[in-house]
Amino acid sequence: MNAAAQIALQNAVNGLLVGGTYATVAVGFSLVWGVLNVVNLAHGALVMLGAYVTYWLFTLYHVDPLLALPAAGAALFALGYPLQRVVINQVIRASFLITFLLTFGLDLLITNLALAAWTADIRSVTTPYSGGSIALGPVTVPIVRLAALLTAIFVAALLHLMMTRTRLGSAIRATASDQEAARLMGIPIAHIYALTFAIAAATAGIAGGLISLSFPVFPAMGPGYTLVAFVTCVLGGLGSVPGAFLGGLILGLVQMYAASWLGPNYDNIVAFTVLILVLLVRPAGLLGRGYRFRG
């Protein structure tokens, strides 16, 4: 195998590995957008909090970051439920500008409180196996990124099963497709909304934990991941877990190839160009219709 082909192959592997993390960032964002019709600009801030949960458990108590993932998920679930129930539910029927601004305000609040509590220092989680990698023929696979991809698949599969096979999933989908009818069927809407947001926050927390394994952790890291989540959702089609997953993998691949051709400093430009192209050419997303949370 010549060098160029080897580099291309390595890029593909790297792109898919990063794409798994993008998918985990995006599934919760997609869920909230699809069910609540809220574009949650604070999603990246929730990812940031998850990363800090993992970081502090690792730094203070030497908890392995992969084992800390459930804790990050649980902590964000506990934060997400009241956040939706007490705050966002108040404006859930207002125009999208209002919910957009509200979640922006939440993002500002969370980011600045994190800044005050933990300073702007850029931190990282370095485990004994952080530098390790497996050689698979001509390509090398970093262990932490492989673990992140496997976790991402696990989380997405779990969420997909929950949405399609459980009573809670049915209730969420019913609420998304017709709120009034769902209410008449005895579904407690406010509670379902809060649960949906909490589940999304939990996946954001887990995504943050995964990110802390191979990317820097700092209070202002959120907005970049919110943009990633948005582009991923648009790519894969709104409100579908498989779609979000596919979108994440594609975005990961595109960014990795673009980085190797253009240099590493053009990632946002590439993501945005992809976004605009997809919105103009195929606004329903690449998968078209999978199952939908909304009609």
């Binding site: 404006v91 859930i92 500008l97 209002i98 601004l101």
Partner: protein
């Protein structure tokens, strides 16, 4: 909201007299005030221009542009580059920045304004992030280290430049709803499909108003660059400018001529007081303010004060409408 499309009468004589008095007072202000207050007023004017400019597209047209700071950045960089590299006089560089903002808005607007709702909002935000990254990568813009502009000999000039921009922005806010374009965008805001059936080509009108809004952001960017003598990508391509303009517009009343200016005066004054106490407080306060405002007064304070019912009753009513 249908009542929003009403015939806008021409302002009466008393309104004209008030406007002349206000302008006269503003012109005379630097002669009597200390430098601190001249700077403060210039800052308030600046956000008055941004809010009034944002209101054209976000308020009157109902297309919340979350990337408006893109044009502030274009104006700032055009002014900076022309003054430093071509030694152009400030006025010419400023004008060039405004014109380039319009041209860019006409080009990108044709693409972005086809999108609606969330998609439009996030696509505009993405557009701004793209320009920020471009500015950080290009040699012309000085990359990440930005551009240092020559210092101005006196500060009072900025006050008058900003005042002129403000007068123009407020005039645009008064003129738009009384013009053919204003009627078109009001119809588009209320129901775009119905407007189209009536023979209004939405895209053309939206792009026109978008370009006007971009012009004001571009002008502010140019003045800002010369005022602060240093620009780099994160300071001018800064989403905070957009959000502040949006919040001030929302606070004072979107789709009204003077609401955005009123919002800018109140919020910027409050913000200055808080910043003097602590910068941390200023950021947390701003986040909390945004949350409280959209929860308790989603249609602006003007609506609450103007309503016949008591303030508490109006707030309760609005909450009932939007909560679950």
């Amino acid at each position: 909201m249908i009542t929003a499309i009403r015939r806008h009468a021409l302002p009466g004589r008393s309104a004209g007299v008030l406007a002349v008095l206000a302008l006269g007072a503003a012109l005379a202000f630097p002669a009597v005030a200390s430098t601190y207050y001249i700077r403060l007023a210039t800052g308030i004017f600046m956000f008055g221009v941004l809010a009034s400019g944002w209101n054209l597209i976000g308020g009157y047209t109902g297309y919340p542009d979350f990337g408006a700071a893109a044009f502030l950045g274009i104006g700032a960089y055009t002014t900076g580059i022309l003054m430093v590299r071509a030694h152009a006089p400030f006025a010419a560089a400023l004008l060039a920045g405004g014109v380039l903002s319009i041209v860019t808005a006409l080009g990108i607007g044709v693409v972005l304004l086809r999108l609606r709702g969330h998609y439009f909002a996030i696509a505009t935000l993405g557009f701004m992030i793209v320009l920020r990254q471009l500015a950080a990568n290009l040699e012309l813009t000085g990359g990440g280290s930005g551009i240092n502009l020559p210092g101005a000999s006196t500060f009072t000039g900025f006050y008058y430049w900003m005042l002129a921009a403000l007068a123009l922005a407020v005039a645009a806010g008064i003129a738009l709803p009384r013009s053919r374009v204003g009627y078109a965008v009001a119809a588009i805001r209320e129901n775009q499909d119905a407007a189209q059936v009536l023979g209004i080509a939405p895209l053309r009108y939206k792009v026109l108003v978008y370009a006007a809004s971009a012009f004001f952001f571009g002008i502010v960017g140019g003045i800002y660059a010369y005022w602060f003598t240093f620009i780099d990508p994160p300071t001018v391509f800064n989403v905070d400018f957009t959000i502040q303009a949006a919040v001030m517009t929302l606070f004072g009343g979107p789709g009204t001529a003077l609401g955005p200016l009123a919002g800018a005066v109140v919020l910027k004054s409050l913000d200055t007081v808080l910043t003097n106490i602590s910068v941390f407080l200023h950021n947390v306060f701003f986040g909390a303010l945004v949350c409280l405002l959209v929860i308790f007064a989603p249609r602006g304070l003007a609506e609450i004060v103007r309503g016949g019912a008591s303030i508490a009753e109006t707030i309760r009513e609005q909450l009932r409408e939007s909560r679950i």
